[in-house]
Amino acid sequence: MTSKKYILGVFDDEDVLLNAIEKTRAAGTRIYDVFSPYPIHGIDDVLGIERSRLPIVAFFCGLCGTSFALWMQIYMLGFDWPMIIGGKPHIALPSFIPVTFELTVLFAAFGMVITFFIISGLRPTMKVPVMDVRSTDDKYVMAIELKEGTDVSILNDLLRSNGAIEVNEKEVVK
């Protein structure tokens, strides 16, 4: 059982928050995370979040879907049990396109979403460790991890002078 302490700066305007993030990072403080009720435009840049590579995952999953669908249809109708259907060739590529397209979409969508769930740690749990419940309603919460020997009052002043309406401390037991 380890426990970590966080300082939470609560904001109620997204522009104030963005400004505060910049000031806090400029002051050399490492921000643990920022929680908001909706995606804030421009927060990726000020927090230094890199562009997600999930589209690449989607592309390769889609490619797997395409190859699987083509292999499946060519193997089944072309080699495993060839039959003449409507006088068409055994491997009638034009009529394999619809199923190939559908499986490409299916694999791409599911592959990407499952990857998103895994890398973000999203899974069904009974108890969710929320820093501040208002962050899913109408407040923005900036969390800064409190290390041994950090001066709380300096952080407090830093957050307040940048527009935080509240500064709280939170202990999270893991």
Binding site: I43, D44, M76, L77, A92, A109, M112, M126, I165
Partner: protein
């Protein structure tokens, strides 16, 4: 810093704050079910009972319980299937295509429209599965290794393409809808007081905390899913139309079918969205989120797609004449003047004439008129499929096989039964799930609420909330 358009009307009215959005949407999730909801659910359950009885009769006594005969081997079942799938398409159009076009008005209606998609596809799937007669063997449509000498499914058949298209469409729509629901489930979870509600919404919210990194990925995932769902929705109705277009029956064998079916699907789907939204906004008091502006935008889509459908009807007729094929010409003359003339002219009136009324702004912005016209469009689109299917089949190649189709009470029971199933699912959704996407509405609030949230840096430094200066334009 913030932009208030002098031309566009606000998408969220009533000077709402972020907290108001949470409050307004969560209200009906947290409150005890009201009487109107209970009554609506009661009526839906009666229809669901009719559905269960009709399905029992169909499965116990067989497909002979339906009015099908040797000549008209497909009638209400496929009509209803295409009708329901078409209705579902508006949900994906609103959530995916309008996302790619960056239409902000979609945010307050996409959740309910996507729910409608999922429930409509469930209703649609009932018909092919029941028409199998032995639904417990439905897995035979999948290419599974088997003991019949490993005889595989026929990948050249549009009916098999349908299996893949509908199941992919259903599962991708479900995932898209669920991804959108996760942040809103988190909001409800963090407000929940009861022990069951708290745990149930915690499970549904998938550990969501609203972290900036997660939001960044979430937006990427939504965008890519929208990009995937857009061609998917077009492919689904294209493939549905190929069920007919690839056969050699006069009236079916036309290349216009894919675009014509897709336009018709969006047309009927938007009508159903309007029918549902006009009721939902009233019952759940969401008039500030689903405004007349939204209704008007949807009515414009109806006018556009309705006109495309009208042009398609006329083009079909023209091409039948222009082709010089006697049988093709007969199929179309028979549609308009034969024994099913009443179905044809119901279709023409409801689909071609009624949506043209939306050229008048006052009708576009009238809730009563919109509601009535949306019902007309739904009826018209049902008749469209009936006309295409039954009138093309009932005059077979041999005049000795010419028959009329008449539905049995079981046919009617299965059809109105699926409407009961649809509304049961929709009412349960409306009670337990957030009907408006709170996170997305919050994200457009600053630019589209008509209220300028000006921020005073001096005030916030001393710990007071920024003042909102209300300025309606």
């Amino acid at each position: 810093m913030q932009h208030v358009s002098p031309i566009r009307e606000p998408l969220v009215t009533g000077g709402k704050t972020y907290a108001d959005i949470t409050e307004d949407v969560c209200r009906q999730v947290e409150a005890k079910p009201n009487v109107r909801w209970m009554m609506a659910l009661g009526v839906s359950l009666v229809f669901l009972g009719i559905f269960i009885y009709s399905v029992y009769r169909t499965l116990w006594f067989g497909i002979g319980e339906w009015g099908l005969n040797k000549t008209v081997g497909w009638a209400w079942d496929i009509t209803n299937f295409v009708w329901w799938v078409g209705i579902g398409h508006a949900g994906t159009l609103i959530s995916a295509i309008l996302l790619l076009f960056r239409q902000k008005w979609r945010t307050s209606i996409n959740r309910a429209a996507e729910a409608m998609t999922i429930f409509a596809v469930i209703c649609a799937a009932m018909f092919p599965v029941l028409h199998m007669g032995r639904p417990w063997l439905a897995y035979w449509v999948l290419p599974l290794p088997n003991t019949f000498g490993s005889l595989w499914v026929n990948f050249n058949s549009p009916l098999l393409w349908d299996v893949f298209a509908i199941s992919t469409y259903f599962s991708v729509s479900l995932v898209f809808w669920y991804i959108g629901l996760i942040p809103d489930f988190a909001t409800i979870r963090d407000r929940a007081t009861g022990p069951i509600a708290r745990r149930a919404y915690a499970l549904l919210s998938m550990n969501w905390t609203g972290s900036a990194k997660h939001w960044s990925r979430y937006e990427t995932v939504s965008l890519i899913l929208a990009g995937l769902a857009t061609p998917l929705v077009l492919s689904v109705h294209t493939i549905v139309s190929m069920d007919f277009a690839t056969s050699v029956i006069p009236g079916w064998h036309t290349t216009i079918f894919p675009p014509y079916f897709v336009a018709g699907a969006i047309f009927s789907g938007f009508a159903m969205v309007l029918t549902l939204m006009i009721i939902t906004r009233k019952v759940f008091r969401l008039e500030d989120y689903i405004t007349l502006e939204h209704v008007e935008s949807m009515n414009k889509v109806i006018t556009l797609t309705g006109s495309i459908v009208g042009v398609a009807y006329i083009t079909e007729f023209f091409i039948a004449w222009y082709s010089g094929v006697e049988y093709e010409q007969y199929a179309f003359i028979n549609r308009a003047t034969g024994p099913y003339w009443w179905a044809y002219w119901s279709m023409m009136t409801c689909n071609v004439i009624t949506p043209q009324l939306f050229w008048f702004r006052s009708i576009r912005r009238s809730l009563t008129a919109t509601f009535i016209i949306s019902i007309f469009v739904n009826i018209g689109m049902w008749f469209e499929r009936f006309v295409i299917i039954v009138t093309s089949l009932h005059r077979d190649f041999l005049p000795s096989s010419w028959v009329m189709f008449s539905p049995t009470s079981i046919d009617v029971g299965v059809y109105v039964g699926t409407i009961g199933l649809f509304f049961t699912l929709f009412l349960l959704f409306a009670k337990f799930f957030p009907v408006v996407n709170m996170a997305e509405v919050k994200s457009i609030l600053k630019s589209s609420s008509g209220v300028s949230h000006t921020h005073n840096p001096d005030a916030s430094m001393h710990g007071t909330a920024p003042k909102n200066s209300h300025k309606h334009d």
